[in-house]
């Protein structure tokens, strides 16, 4: 029953979203009024390089091949999928002969590290503190935190990151202003290197935890205020169960469950936020790579990053959805 009613439709949806997402990524550059090949040539020329017509024609042919733009759309489309299954996104333009997949592989650990730690930290932190604030919603500290969240919440990732960068990178020079590690340090599992990486990661991570935490705080506080009014809580209070136990075991645990679904729904936004934060701090992950790809007009690299992100995020959402019943005994996919 679980298979037919829930798992199979959910899997169909998963593959359909990936299929459509990647199809869109394939068609956007082809439907757009500007041709990526012409754009690249124009960009090279605008840098002041003189090119004679024969050269230009040779470049057009080479670029058309490189971008996978030769042949009819149907052939290109088939070719695109075949290459995708082999993990081949073509070669990068801005670091010329390097394949896109190598560049992505080098950048990925940074982004995954930053994204995973900050998402978990802000989710746990925001939910627990938000839950406590919701339980004690008449207390002074709860109101102060709520007020603080009202200021942080609406500000976009970019502005928060920039603000922190100016404050702690330039005005008070506490933290390094760019990069993932000091240049010249060889990556190794030494204490000095780990410390260096952590020091570089602090500001980007802090700005993401601050923003993410504020929004989890608010939703969690709201949910807890509602759960608090339910009968079983009153029953527990009348039964003389200790406050701490009621708060953590009875209320916050219950309130955290719907937040798992919310986490799945906001993963796409969190990824976008991480990419933007990386751009501000020149953090050597996918966001920074994307930025270089945009400023040099590197279509293969952009398509590689976007395709990979779509697959990763939809897969993560699927995993969270499927794992959810393990946490919530009330839900059994019958």
């Amino acid at each position: 029953m679980f298979l037919r009613k829930y798992l199979i439709p959910r899997l169909i949806q998963y593959f359909l979203v990936i299929f459509l997402g990647i199809t869109i990524v394939f068609f956007i550059p082809r439907l757009a009024p500007t041709n990526p090949v012409e754009r690249t040539i124009a960009e090279i020329r605008s840098r002041g390089t003189y090119l004679d017509p024969a050269h230009i024609q040779a470049m057009v042919d080479a670029l058309t091949e490189m971008y996978g733009l030769s042949g009819s759309w149907l052939e290109q489309y088939k070719d695109f999928w075949v290459r995708l299954f082999h993990g081949d996104f073509g070669v990068s333009f801005f670091q010329f002969p390097t394949p896109v997949i190598t560049l992505i592989k080098n950048a990925l650990p940074w982004t995954v590290g930053l994204l995973f730690t900050t998402t978990m930290l802000s989710w746990l932190f925001g939910n627990i503190v938000g839950g406590m604030a919701g339980y004690a919603n008449n207390r002074f500290w709860s109101k102060i935190l709520d007020f603080f969240a009202m200021f942080i919440r609406p500000i976009p990732y970019y502005v928060v990151a920039l603000g922190l960068l100016i404050l702690f990178g330039y005005v008070y020079r506490v933290f390094p202003i760019s990069g993932g590690a000091t240049i010249g340090h060889r990556p190794a599992w030494t204490l000095a290197f780990v410390k260096d990486v952590l020091r570089h990661a602090f500001l980007p991570a802090f700005s993401m935890v601050l923003l993410g935490g504020a929004s989890w705080f608010q939703t969690s506080k709201l949910v807890v205020q509602n759960v608090k009014a339910e009968d079983f809580v009153q029953y527990a209070q009348l039964g003389g169960i200790r406050e701490r136990r009621i708060m953590f075991r009875y209320i916050i645990r219950n309130a955290m469950l719907p937040q798992i679904t919310n986490l799945a729904l906001s993963l796409g936004q969190i990824l976008s936020g991480a990419l933007i934060t990386e751009i501000v701090f020149s953090y050597p992950g996918l966001g920074h790579l994307l930025y270089s790809a945009i400023s040099t007009g590197d279509y293969n690299l952009i398509m590689g990053i976007i395709t990979l992100s779509i697959v990763t995020i939809t897969t993560l959402v699927l995993i969270v959805d499927l794992v959810y019943p393990l946490f919530d005994p009330r839900i059994r996919y019958k």
Binding site: Y158, L265, I306
Partner: protein, 287 residues
């Protein structure tokens, strides 16, 4: 009458009052741009890198432009972009929400599948890709339209949920049984319930659009000749304003945008709390 008392209730909330005053201030700035003595597209009409003085309230930047007057244009254009994006995406969201909620069945499943897809996929990346390809054609209206295409999915879900609950109400059955045409039912009877909700999501969406425009500008995907909060910031960054410690230049767009985001958010929170009958009771109290 009803409108007046609604406003009076809203003004009971300090957040609404603060948001209203800040927005009024920002809109005044935007209107002042029409009386600007300078053309925002020109460079070097003033000496470069001046400190604030009587002549140039916030000083001038490295492009020889007056920071204050440039900021007034920026707010105006950012507000226009966000209004275009907000209004158009509201229209999409309302239509999708109404049709999905009222029709139900297969139509509902297909529409909700599409909006789920929009929610799951990292939209920012698709937006970046599109913006990159139409970079040459990015004016204020196109930027707004581009953002509108991506900003409706979540709110369509919210509106659909509202319609689903309206459909179960008594008056729907009465209307259907007495032969009211579907369109008339939906537009005449449901709209009064949908409109306030759409309005409160409009404010959130405008805020999102302004932030997104800033992000796209920073990555260099909008037209840098049109002053917006995003391009103002981007120019300051391009000229290393942080490194040169030219705080007036960099902090003007940052401060203005932070004020704008907070004001819009507070207003939307205040309005949606007012719309929710459970929280409205607390505010209006026993009166």
């Amino acid at each position: 009458m009803a409108f007046g008392s609604t406003l009076r209730d809203l003004f009971r909330d300090y957040r609404f009052v603060v948001a209203f005053i800040v927005l009024l201030f920002l809109v005044t700035l935007a209107v002042m741009s029409f009386f600007s003595p300078y053309d925002p597209t020109l460079w070097y009409y003033a000496p470069r890198d001046l400190r604030p003085s009587n002549e140039h309230i916030l000083g001038t930047d490295s492009r020889g432009q007056d920071i204050f007057w440039q900021a007034t244009f920026a707010i105006r254009n950012s507000l226009i972009i966000s209004l275009v994006a907000g209004v158009i995406s509201r229209i999409i969201a309302v239509v999708v929400g109404l049709v999905a909620g009222y029709q139900g069945g297969r139509t509902d499943r297909v529409l909700m599948f599409i909006s789920d897809g929009f929610l799951v996929i990292p939209l920012f990346l698709i937006l970046v890709m599109l913006a990159m390809l139409i970079r040459d054609k990015m004016n204020i209206v196109n930027t707004g339209l581009l953002l509108a295409v991506f900003g409706w999915a979540w709110d369509a879900r919210v509106l659909r949920a509202q319609v689903l609950s309206l459909r179960e109400r008594e008056f729907t059955k009465t209307a259907v049984l007495s032969g009211t045409p579907t369109l008339q039912l939906v537009f005449k009877e449901y709209m009064p319930y949908i409109t306030p909700l759409a309005f409160s999501t409009l404010i959130n969406n405008m805020s999102w659009a302004i932030g997104m425009e800033m992000t796209l500008s920073i990555i260099g995907l909008t037209n840098m000749d049109i002053p917006t909060l995003g391009t103002n910031l981007k120019w300051a960054l391009n000229y290393q304003a942080i490194l040169m410690r030219r705080w007036y230049w960099i902090l003007t767009p940052v401060t203005l945008s932070v004020l704008l985001f907070i004001a819009l958010y507070w207003m939307s929170v205040s309005i949606s709390e007012y719309l929710d009958p459970r929280t409205r009771v607390q505010r209006v109290g026993g009166e």
